[in-house]
Symmetry: C2
Subunit: 427 residues, 2 copies
């Protein structure tokens, strides 16, 4: 596919030309799309429903739960956290046996922070940044409280709201550093940190790294093993299309697994869950990071969606993601900058995930007008970010073009001005 920056043209024909060249175009038909005129740009918050998932859900509920009843546990439920983890490993650059799926991202992040801090003993410093997803910062603060307050958390500033300075990250680490942890891509600005460089720098000081790839799974190339990542988490309901609140994945590097313990060692983390021993003995390997019984129906929904992403392949997904975001950025410059929008996402595709944030003083109300009147669904993030999630598996270039026209129309027609600034969103 030709990079759109080279022969960009702001007209609809160019968008259609890009669609004809799109090697992933056929994947759109694998998703439920009832209204082709509705432009869904929130796949970075909740991915679309794969048709195969509907069928799988029916099988899991009607046939397995309904007919096989408790026997379902022996027929694909019990090993699902590990099986899905190993499948996901194919998208995340990990050898098998290092990823499990289950619990929420918050709970998994908590497990890994506590495991890392326990392992690090007297090291007391934790480094993150203000672009980290807040649940991670909250969890860090709560972990520090639990452990008696002897740790200190440095939250690096982001002067431009796009990213923290990487040199400041390198400079923040020393022999007291226990853990550094960031989200990448960042949830507001879609910025990609240099994961291998930061990970290597952390290791030189003896710090451990925990990356939150919630916006990265299924959207950017990730090489957990090659990058030497210690711990990672991510959700499965964004670009991985696992459905609302589908369980999270966590990764613990193989050679660390026997050296660390989860804080929540329930029966699923036990070496012999069905022996019902009275004493806890941690499972060997990644299973020790499970806790209790997973939500099977939500868990199983991850699998058909994952199969689609694996079939498309990360190189093709990334290539289209770069093309979509590059095209969107060019259209923003051409059509929306004159209307008071600025790009809140890096121009360098190497530093960019799969959503484009555009910033506008009235972004909150523009978002409401787009949803209520224009059949465009982006989302809003404080204070002024309109996030436009571009999902390579189903977003078309024509949708990108059309969305920009509708965003422009909201502003030129002043459609947003009738809405209140009073915040009421739950998404």
């Amino acid at each position: 596919m030709t990079a759109p920056s080279q022969d960009f043209h702001p007209g609809l024909e160019y968008a259609r030309q890009l669609d004809t060249l799109d090697q992933l175009a056929a994947f759109r038909a694998e998703f439920v799309i009832d209204d082709p005129d509705l432009i869904y740009l929130d796949g970075n918050s909740l991915g679309r429903l794969p048709k195969a998932s509907l069928q799988r859900l029916q099988t899991a509920a009607r046939e397995q739960w309904g007919r096989r009843l408790i026997r379902g546990w022996g027929e694909g439920w019990y090993d699902a956290p590990r099986r899905l983890g190993d499948q996901l490993a194919g998208l995340l650059g990990a050898a098998p046996g290092q990823i499990v799926v289950g619990d929420s991202t918050t709970v998994n992040f908590f497990k890994l922070v506590m495991a890392a801090l326990e392992f690090q003993g007297q090291r007391s410093a934790i480094v993150s940044d203000e672009l980290n997803f807040p649940t991670d910062l909250y969890t860090l603060q709560n972990c520090i409280r639990l452990l008696g307050g002897r740790h200190n958390l440095t939250v690096l500033a982001s002067p431009d709201g796009v990213h923290a300075d990487e040199q400041a990250i390198f400079d923040s680490m020393d022999a007291s550093t226990a853990l550094i942890t960031f989200s990448t891509p960042t949830f507001k600005s879609g910025f990609l940190y240099d994961v291998p460089a930061i990970t290597a720098a952390a290791h030189r000081t003896g710090a451990l790294v925990l990356w939150d790839f919630s916006h990265g799974g299924g959207s950017i190339p990730i090489e957990l093993d090659a990058w030497g990542v210690d711990f990672a988490v991510g959700c499965t309901y964004k670009y991985l299309n696992g459905g609302p609140g589908s369980p999270s994945w966590l990764y613990v590097r193989k050679d660390l697994q026997e050296k660390v313990l989860s804080p929540i060692g329930g029966w699923w983390a036990h070496r012999s869950p069905f022996a019902f021993d009275l004493d806890f003995t941690p499972a060997e390997g990644i299973s020790r990071f499970l806790a209790g019984t997973p939500s099977v129906l939500s868990l199983l929904m991850v699998e058909p969606a994952l199969e689609i992403a694996l079939r498309a392949g990360m190189p093709a997904i990334r290539q289209k993601s770069v093309a979509l975001t590059g095209y969107m950025a060019a259209l923003v410059d051409h059509s929306l900058a004159p209307l008071g929008f600025s790009l809140g996402t890096p121009r360098d595709p190497q530093r960019r995930g799969s959503h484009i944030s555009i910033r506008h003083a009235d972004a909150y109300r523009i978002n409401l007008a787009l949803i209520n009147e224009m059949k465009v669904i982006p989302d809003f993030r404080e204070p002024d970010n309109l996030r436009l999630g571009l999902t390579p598996l189903y977003t078309t270039f024509e949708e990108v073009w059309e969305a920009v026209q509708r965003i422009a129309a909201v502003v030129t027609e002043k459609r947003h001005e009738k809405y209140s600034q009073q915040r009421s969103s739950v998404t």
Copy 2:
């Protein structure tokens, strides 16, 4: 309904007579039952699929996720943990605003143990018993490790394998006791502790109580508020029929809520989740015990099942439960005791939940023969418990009678002897 103990007869006609008197008989038709000859006695492990749940699942997936996409969060998803908690409160004797549904039982138990121990400061003793579900004991052990090992856990023995001596529980508590925690009904023996008496005794010493009602929700009358319970948890996939691994509920007494904190304070525990503040401020009320995004599809499955139980009403459910278990116990005495079985469940209905455990040296192999050859599905719990879960909403008296005949047939025909003692169960 006449109590079966008064005019018990071991014949099939008596079972059928009990079925004709069953005021809950019509509820059986609300569940998917493909094969009426399959006797499902594991509803205490995974309840049957309500027909209404299938419909709800289709709506949640196809209509909400598929068509409404991210807007589903504003249309019944976001408030589901609290809404379901308030509905469940009607079965658990709790005023609204004290229960949320989400996360696994293990994770919720962990939250409450950590909250209780933090609140209790220097009090260092924890009391439980060896009949507690092992995940609770494991979690207690892991909490003690996390908190530096300054707590000590007393696990009271159960000489008969049915229950710990309640006097020993009373005697175990003193001014050093931080927390006492038991499962009731107990998972192997179905024993009911005297919750109000133990709770009151704990309070007299300044201890807090945490009850695990996983086997009690939807099967026994529970009065959380009237009994003065501090903390409680339970699963929703047993007698509450929420589906495989459906999320757990937790209860924190109203006047404790502002005094305690969850260890896992993620964004769903924040006062303003969508403000994306950098600092954690706990939500007011029970929401502070949420963590991250719940698994929506599994969560929503709890609701139609709960509506069935609420419609049946706890008094009628309990009445039938007592009748079913009493009838089963009488049949065990009559037909199975001569074959080497003994009752592992209290004879006093006031001390009994809704399953009957029968003990036999060959219980493991008998369980396999029942499942593989006899179309009876109980389950097995080490070392010698065959658990027979009797679910008032769909188990019939004739099924109880027929199950006993088939169990007897396995032993008299020595069908179990071809199976290995080697354990391989995953349920």
